[in-house]
Amino acid sequence: MPINRIEVAMKPTLPDPAGEALRVRVREDLGITFEVARVIDVFILNAALREEELEKARCELFTDPIIQTSAINQSLATDYDCVIEVGFLPGVTDNVGRSSLEGVQDTLGRPLAKGEAVYKSTLYALKGVDKTTAETIAAKLLANELIEQYVVKTADEMKTLDGKPLLALPIVTQQSDAEVHEVSLELSDDALAALSREKMLALDLDEMRSIRNHYNHPDTRARRGRLGLPAAPTDIELEILAQTWSEHCKHKIFNATITYIDEHGDKHTIDGLFKTYIKGVTDAVSKRVPWLVNVFEDNAGIIQFDDDHVFALKAETHNSPSALDPYGGAMTGIVGVNRDVLGAGLGFQCIFNTDVFCFASPFYKGEIPPRLLHPKRVLRGVHSGVRDGGNQSGIPDVNGAIVFHERFLGKPLVFCGTGGLSPAVVGGRPAHKKAAKPGDHIVMTGGRIGKDGIHGATFSSEALHEGSPATAVQIGDPITQKKMADFLLEARDQGLFNCITDCGAGGLSSSVGEMAHKPGGASIYLDKAPLKYAGLAPWEIFLSEAQERMTLAVPPEHLDAFLDLARRREVEATVLGEYNNSGFLDCYYNGKLIGSLNMEFLHEGLPKMRLEAQLNPPEPAAELLLPSDESDLTSDLLQVLGALNVCSKESFVRMYDHEVLGLSVLKQFQGARRDGPGNSGVIAPVPGSKRGIAVSCGICPKYSDLDAYRMAACAVDEAVRNLVAVGGKLGTIAGLDNFCWPDPVQSASTPDGRHKLAQLVRACEALYDVCLAYDIPLISGKDSMKNDYRIGDTKISIPPTILFTAAAIIEDVGKVVSMDAKAPGHSVYVLGETRDEMGGSEYLALRGQLGVNAPEVRPFSARALYERLGKAIKDGLVASCHDCSDGGLGVALAETAFAGDMGMTVTLSPLGVDNGVIALFSESQSRFVVTVSPDNAAAFEATLDGHPCYRVGETSQEPVLRIVCADGRKVESDLDALRAAWKQPLNW
């Protein structure tokens, strides 16, 4: 096939913003300076085109005549020292290439032949660098070798190249073995364990033995003999079992029986953390909240929004893929959780996203262990992936956080959440009820299948190690997914399917396996599956985690209509088999039965894990050193405002579309200059109705090392008080728990597993206690239990982390409150008690100390306070309300002031805390800074009577924040300085 190369660049007379952005980034991230970069888009057309067709495509499709210049088979790079070309590796999703192909077909008015394709790459022409430096830029910044290929050439080398292509065409040529193999399990224990490791099954010895026993059972043997299947499992059967039984899918740790020795040495038996604490608290609370619709069973938790609508909420993590390929990993995280919501009930429309990331400091100066990327690169990549995934899907990002802790160097955490809305009744059926019926067709929609993400489910159940596969990485394609989502909601409204689920971790094996559970069996014909390229073994087809796919059950009477609608929407939909009640999951390939798994064994045969947990005694506390001699705490406050966990993330958040769909009520940044940090995102999802949803998050891994119970309690309280601060009411709040833990299973490589598991028990206890007190049902959640890095002697385990996502139903969005001070002369109040709880605080962290006493949540007194504050907000008495969290009261006061462009004069003596450092920087929970107009002050104080509510000062026109502490120590700073300190550190 002829190969033609079209290069497109900005006209030489115009500046090249992409080149300039690259130059700045290379300087900032790598400390390398050079003169000029030009960025040239390269489209490789591997297609039989006539010369005039090629010219037409160049002019009409690829070139913007106003600002660009282009050339065919001729390089536009001029006046450079080195060029770098970066393109994809074979098999990696090339979204631009695929769209370009459609554009070429439109332009030529004819379809291209099978196998003809467009490939996108990028050429960087750099002036003022030598080849070694260019290699560094390519490797460290431009290309990720897991998914991309690159080449560096000097100007001289380019001359001798004489127009030959720089990169190999990314066409998959490697063929897998399409044979089905049997895998004997008649092995010693050691050999069984080795087999699990080699095949990346991530099954332990007990589990391997259970499988062997099942295959050795006379009934199994007899049946297999009749069907012509070997006595030993086939590779596809073993792979299905491994993936269905993975930690990722079965949550083995959360379902394990745990023998727990608590801090007093008392022994307890816990019959599953999930059942005891998570489901336990939801069961207990469910009697008091009448709005639960479907919890724990579906892809997302579903609650009632109003009489006519139901609301679905889900959050997911995508940590391991994001560690390897931050951009692709995070993008598949966000579009993946969108599919969870799209696949909840009969299909929900996604109405908002949330995102929370945990990284090591982007200013980290130490060595980067092998296979890890610098945290700055991880941050930029993850942010871009979530940005592109969300923006291109047309889903607003309404809330999030970026959290920093040194141990996230070992694994970044990438939490992506999504809310969805559906009419309560769709196509004449309740939106939350679904089930495949025997006789329904198995239909797969969306993208095609490649080797992407094979073993993703088992991979994410393991520590990051040297053999971690490149195939675990996927790249998302939001537009294919957007087309599919639009199509599926149309099909839903026409009642064309009985059941839908996301084709995510574990691919078809997981989605078909789950959906076959209710009808009681399925037959699937794997040779019918649409592939990106030839050469996948049947088991690979079944397990591939290629993105943008959903699996459905379509009844025979609607199949034609379903496929016809798919065709008109240009969404690929393929019938792969049918559901039945045979009791078996049967897999066929080219007419031959290659696997038959007993559904009961598949879903119920997993032996229950037994684990031990024991809390280590607390480390002897280092003596706490609080400076006592400084009388002026201004510079301390400025420093804390600039701490990474406190400072503004605006430059990142601005890059998310946070208003598409037109439902926005409270945005991330608020106030006179729209730069104050909001507490919760608020939207009004049903046009014409003032009923709304507030969503917030709480996450505080920095307290984990001191006390995992308090860490978890603080996470819940932070999310809740963020909702309360805007007007959210207890009793309307639903929660999601996302656990990310270092491996808590005792082993040679995890000698402190018992302690880490005990921390998990403690965190679950806290979740139970606080949610019970606040009447919060947990409607969905997820756990990721192997967040460790281990290569050679280096082991880095993340601090145990819970992300608590909370959503409240708001009766009238017209009454919600923003965080910015509104006018001069308003009274300033601090609500809640300030205590000596400096442990884990930002203030101590800046001094290299951890401290002792992590903040403690006292949920019963907090609840009473929240209810009174809620009443004051409802009565319209509150001008502004701001949550007090990371950094403490000083930060909350400063943010309230500069967001409102209002000065403030405050005396903290009413708080009853003598030490000014503690008053300003302790991170005691359940506190707010509230401003109230003089007209409402008396009514406000009356409403809060009997609760911790302290009038500490007044707002003023003069743009200065003045704080006097009980011990006479002071803060005095103009607002610009406060704002600058807060904005500067991450203003990229």
Binding site: P17, A18, E20, A21, E60, L61, F62, D64, P65, I66, I67, N95, V96, R98, S99, S100, E102, G103, D106, T107, G109, R387, N391, Q392, S393, G394, D477, P478, I479, K482, K483, D486, R568, R569, E570, R654, M655, D657, H658, E659, V660, L661, G662, S664, V665, L666, F669, Q670, G671, A672, R674, A684, P687, V813, G814, V816, V817, S818, D820, K822
Partner: protein, 262 residues
């Protein structure tokens, strides 16, 4: 008279719901229609009075924003679209829709023929940003969508919104014809003069939107459909604002014009 409005969907367009809502609230009988359905039912174009190309990421902005869908419209909807505008009907393209119109040459439409005379390039910041801007409709502009609108605050949400005319002559003609419909401004309505963030992308002459010489075809980067409720405004908790978002006026103007003139 019923004013019929078609709102294009499909292929990554994603502001279709709120654009449909805005036209409906303005009094039109608005329907969202997938591009492929429209191509199968071209007669719908004859019945419609208003065509809206909403914002979004058609084809992921691959190659360049709006480019691939513009290419498709040129090749598959060219004639019906010519007829549509020849009959004096109204078109609005918002954000990605504006990018589509510019690359298709549906704007500025100096001589009635589709020809690309301008472009929307990467923002000077080289990043997608979401922020609210102040807009001023210059005196003497012909845009029927902006009747009685002088100043308006709207959100921008784009990465490629830097308006660039092909040459000075194009800019002069836009000015002379009253085709510059919206310009980025300061809070008091004074010109942004290119200064960030008032001019969020570095657009030439602060241009945020242009219309054709008849004023009936209008394209703009900011999102009028994104300001339909008081609560959409970023400062509604600080300011006395009417319940209805000011962005709706743009659509009311068009529906009223269609009702009276078509």
């Amino acid at each position: 008279m019923t004013v019929n409005a078609l709102v294009l969907t499909g292929f990554g367009i994603n502001c279709d719901n709120e654009t449909e809502r805005a036209l409906a609230r303005a009094g039109a009988d608005a329907v969202r229609i997938h591009l492929n359905d429209l191509l199968e039912h071209l007669e719908l174009m004859d019945k419609a009075h208003i065509l809206a190309i909403p914002g979004g990421f058609s084809f992921g902005d691959h190659v360049a924003s709006g480019k691939i869908i513009a290419n498709r419209l040129r090749h598959k909807l060219g004639e019906p679209l010519q007829r549509f505008i020849g009959n004096g009907k109204l078109v609005i393209g918002i954000c990605n829709g504006f990018q589509v119109m510019v690359k298709l040459g549906l704007l500025p439409l100096f001589d009635g023929a589709f020809k690309q005379e301008t472009t929307l390039a990467w923002n000077d910041s080289c990043r997608f940003e979401n922020r609210w801007v102040y807009l001023r409709a210059p005196q003497g502009n012909r845009c029927v969508w902006l009747k009685d609108i002088e100043l308006l605050e709207l959100p921008v949400r784009h990465g490629e919104g830097k308006f660039i005319p092909g040459n000075d002559e194009v800019l002069r003609r836009l000015q002379d014809n009253g085709q510059i419909a919206f310009q980025y401004a300061r809070e008091d309505g004074a010109p942004a003069n290119g200064e960030f963030p008032f001019n969020p992308n570095g657009a030439t002459a602060d241009i945020a939107g242009i219309c054709d010489p008849s004023g009936r075809i209008f394209g703009l980067m900011p999102h009028p459909e994104g300001f339909q409720e008081r609560e959409n405004h970023p400062n509604w908790t600080r300011l006395p604002l009417p319940d209805e978002g000011a962005g709706l006026k743009v659509f009311r103007n068009a529906v009223e014009f269609a009702r009276n003139e078509l």
